[in-house]
Symmetry: C2
Subunit: 413 residues, 2 copies
């Protein structure tokens, strides 16, 4: 099954908003074995939307559209859909009741004049919006499917989960191509390619793609159904091979993230954690607290941006800072040990480095980053050499620290 994603909104075309909706929807469809052929960002223009709908419906079986459905903005998407499908609007009592009820629960009255919000294209099936007022719309047209959702990310995500994905999962044909993601961290693309040498010879009918990101490299396996040879079986055999070869570098599969996997590991083992950051400036801690329930393991984080803070709060000896410098194997070890000791947690995690653009020298260039972990009995430090800009270096450093922690807790290092 081929899909096209249409995202509507002037803010996408002026660069004000990064299109996270598109990648979210693309990710979910890909997991279902649906091939996303194209993603478009379009302005709030009826003309542009109608034109894009024509092309999308022509060359794909599924169109997912977001944006322009909200009640307070120009409803061009709704108008464009009516024009495209040659249909009128009808007042839907159930939609109106849901809006009234939502406002009542928020303690607010809704003026009768807002009834226009409950007018929807007559041929559309209504998809309830558990987190907002604008309902989603589902159209079936000559065997083609079209879902229209609001552009507010947390409304859209809930409606994808509640309404869109369950309907797509029920379609038999969406399962003709099978995908499986295996996520790795701490190893390069070429390093992985070496480990997986022999894959193509052994699994000639299974696709393998290397997808690098800031957290690591994702291996995506792909297999198609053929008569008497289910793609799922091919995929399962290839998956077993890759899992074995990728070894400790593999941290998860499917939708797993490194922060989630690492956090869950701490919860499972009942371990508490404290963090000492320098160059990442709070990003490592931010990632650790993106997961609901992270207060179960995270006790505290010290962002010791100054040497004074490293001494006062983490107990890094002045002599050590003087001898080796703030960016050193020794300081990373002392930071992890210091924060653990002071907080009384099971584990201490540290990161110190040169994020750039300034501050680099010949011996200690921009991108040199040390990550450290300690459980009191044992302290380990790893050296990383990143070469990119400040934002990238911060991201990579935070993930390197998470991956060090993960392998340490698993007893792999």
């Amino acid at each position: 099954m081929r899909a096209v994603i249409l995202t509507i909104g002037d803010e996408l075309l002026s660069g004000i908003t990064v299109n996270t909706n598109a990648s979210f929807i693309a990710g979910r469809l890909t997991e279902l074995g649906i091939r996303v052929a194209r993603i478009l960002a379009l302005p709030d223009s009826e003309e542009a939307i109608v034109e894009a709908l024509h092309t999308a419906i022509q060359d794909s079986e599924l169109t997912v559209l977001t944006g322009g459905l909200g009640p307070t903005r120009d409803d061009v998407t709704q108008k464009a859909l009516c024009r495209f499908f040659h249909c009128g609007l009808v007042f839907r009592q159930d939609v109106w009741d849901a809006i009234v009820d939502r406002f009542r629960r928020m303690g607010r009255d809704l003026p009768e004049s807002n009834r226009v919000q409950a007018e929807v294209p007559e041929i559309a099936e209504i998809l309830p919006n558990p987190r907002g007022t604008a309902p989603g719309l589902y159209f079936k047209h000559d065997g083609r499917l079209l879902f229209a959702l609001p552009g507010v990310p947390y409304e859209m995500k809930a409606m994808m989960a509640d309404s869109v994905l369950p309907r797509l999962e029920r379609l038999p044909r969406s399962r003709s191509v099978h995908f499986h993601n295996i996520h790795t961290a701490g190893i390069s693309e070429s390093g992985l390619a070496d480990l997986l040498d022999g894959f193509y010879a052994r699994f000639p009918e299974t696709g393998l793609a290397f997808l690098p990101s800031l957290s690591g490299v994702t291996l995506r396996l792909m297999a198609e159904d053929a008569p008497g040879r289910p793609g799922a079986d091919l995929l399962e055999r290839a998956r077993a091979f890759v899992l074995k070869k990728a070894g400790e570098w593999r941290y998860g599969e499917k939708n797993d993230t490194l922060e989630q996997v690492t956090g869950n590991l701490l919860i499972q083992k009942g371990l508490s954690l404290s963090v000492a950051e320098s160059c990442t400036g709070g990003l490592l801690s931010h990632k650790l607290t993106q997961i609901p329930g992270s207060s179960a393991y995270l006790n505290r984080t010290i962002v010791a941006y100054s040497n004074q803070a490293k001494k006062d709060l983490l107990g890094v000896p002045a002599s050590l800072l003087e001898k080796y410098g703030a960016v050193s194997r020794e300081t990373a070890a002392a930071m992890a040990e210091g924060v653990r000791k002071d907080s009384g947690t099971d584990l201490g995690l540290s990161v110190t480095g040169i994020a750039g653009p300034g501050g680099g020298t010949v011996e200690k260039p921009v991108g040199l980053v040390f990550t450290g972990v300690s459980d009191g009995a044992r302290t380990l430090v790893e050296e990383n050499r990143f070469i990119q800009d400040r934002e990238v270096n911060k991201e990579r450093s935070a993930y390197a620290a998470l991956n060090l922690l993960r392998r340490f807790v698993l007893g792999k290092i």
Copy 2:
């Protein structure tokens, strides 16, 4: 001038990568008065790229393309460009010399077999890549312009700044529409609309758009040149009106970000800062350290995720935590005062709240967040009520704290 942005890469269509390149390029073009009519994400498929090039060149004067030009991946973009322009590849000695030189500086040898990297479409002008090996390509075709850049964000950004934008700035026609962004924080879209009442009557020929994001609302002004009436003049008059009306809520213009503006303010005034975070988990500190040179003002951040850490590290009295709770006006004040006192900085900034999804009660629902600031003599706390999900609440809380700090330092509160 109308533009189309084409972004190439399977990772965009499988949802692995968020398309930040598209929003970056769109933002820069919009600033130049170029209207971005459409953004496409396409797979690494020669067929798909050629087809998209045809449509793009047909209905826009400018096409900016990124991705698929790297040396280690399938070079489908280069192939597609050659097919589209009916041209061959030539070996370019200057491109090869630059690649060899780059490897030499990194202390690595480059095998002669890599000479293929210096083969480029014969009709293209070469755009140097200061941060990588794949050069950019510039095509002029029947009065239409096409730039092809690598997809690695930090390479692409450097080449936009060095090669693409200077060329576009020299085109007279790109200046027919003028834009100007004014950024606000801490005030709602409808609150701003009230403040700007009368704008449309007073400036009938100037467009005004409200663009909400997690950091606040951006006001975008737009004016077109007409005979005898330069758009820039219209824009300047409207700008003065908006700046006056938006008052203290306005923190910047053009590309300013709240973190940058706030950080620069601290540097200008020579003020040092320490931060105490709870619900934001390090995100506030991460934002403050995204700006190169932030070590000039940021001394330390304490992420006191546990009550124990709030007591031990920030000196929040146990009795206060017991009486008012960790999420309270009183705790926010004590956190800002405590971190400031311990670190000896000029200012202390704090945030405590309920990010969700769990932890909310009837009196203290998810989204309740207190931000505090103190200079020792005076402590101010603000109450915020956000209503969205964990990630959104963390982002909004961090920006609310930055905005509180900004207004405090400016003496506006």
